[in-house]
Symmetry: C2
């Protein structure tokens, strides 16, 4: 039951002898609202970046390299939701604003998160908590 | 002398003990026209994907993983241009339509090309040639 403002979309991978092509996001896709900025976050094996929330940004998250555990928390509903995506479960997550989130590297090699955001980076719409401020069994 | 319709833009990398954050493209950046689609191409070590050209698409190419050699060819000017970008020379290439291009994986590990394109994939605006149809010493 995914109820707190996240949708998950399966993406296709086209195999090629020289290296695969991996879809990420088209402007006509469900979950696309506007383009503001795209950036990458590397997350090391077992390390966790948490917690952060955006008050305005809708994120579209894709993991083309490695495997990443995402945890989201709705303060309003007091519910956590967890998703593991990456090369093996190649899905895009569309994440509404106002959800707390953190993520953890799950592969021993590189883990790369791509965020296609509907607005440009703006520190005034970012809130942070320490990892221990929200209790979750990672 | 870069004259055939390509511009190169230095991007920043923010280091973090849990993994770096790598900028790619903001809508206010020079080189951004419109958002149509984003997709990823893996290219294996020493392998080459060539030649292709788009008659309408402007590409913004970023290599957050590994290192990739891009070769562009202007039929009009009969000029080749070569760029090597990746984690070590972390630049974005903005590529006008009508240039032939090919690319080669330069790292023994993974090489990942991110294309932020101003239109969605449309096979009617893609032209192809065999690798041997344009002579280049890779």
């Amino acid at each position: 039951m995914k109820t707190i403002g996240i949708s998950e979309h399966n993406l296709s991978i086209l195999n090629n002898v020289n290296g695969s092509v991996m879809h990420a996001l088209k402007k006509s896709d469900f979950g696309f609202s506007d383009f503001g900025e795209i950036y990458f976050s590397n997350i090391k094996y077992q390390n966790i970046k948490a917690w952060k929330r955006h008050t305005k940004m809708t994120m579209n998250l894709v993991v083309p390299v490695g495997r990443v555990r995402f945890v989201f928390y709705s303060e309003e509903k007091n519910i956590f939701e967890e998703y593991i995506v990456g090369e093996k479960n190649y899905n895009r997550l569309t994440v509404n604003p106002l959800l707390w989130f953190g993520f953890q590297g799950m592969d021993e090699g590189k883990n790369l998160v791509v965020n296609i955001a509907n607005i440009e980076h703006d520190p005034s719409e970012v809130e942070r908590k320490d990892l221990m401020d929200l209790k979750y069994h990672w």
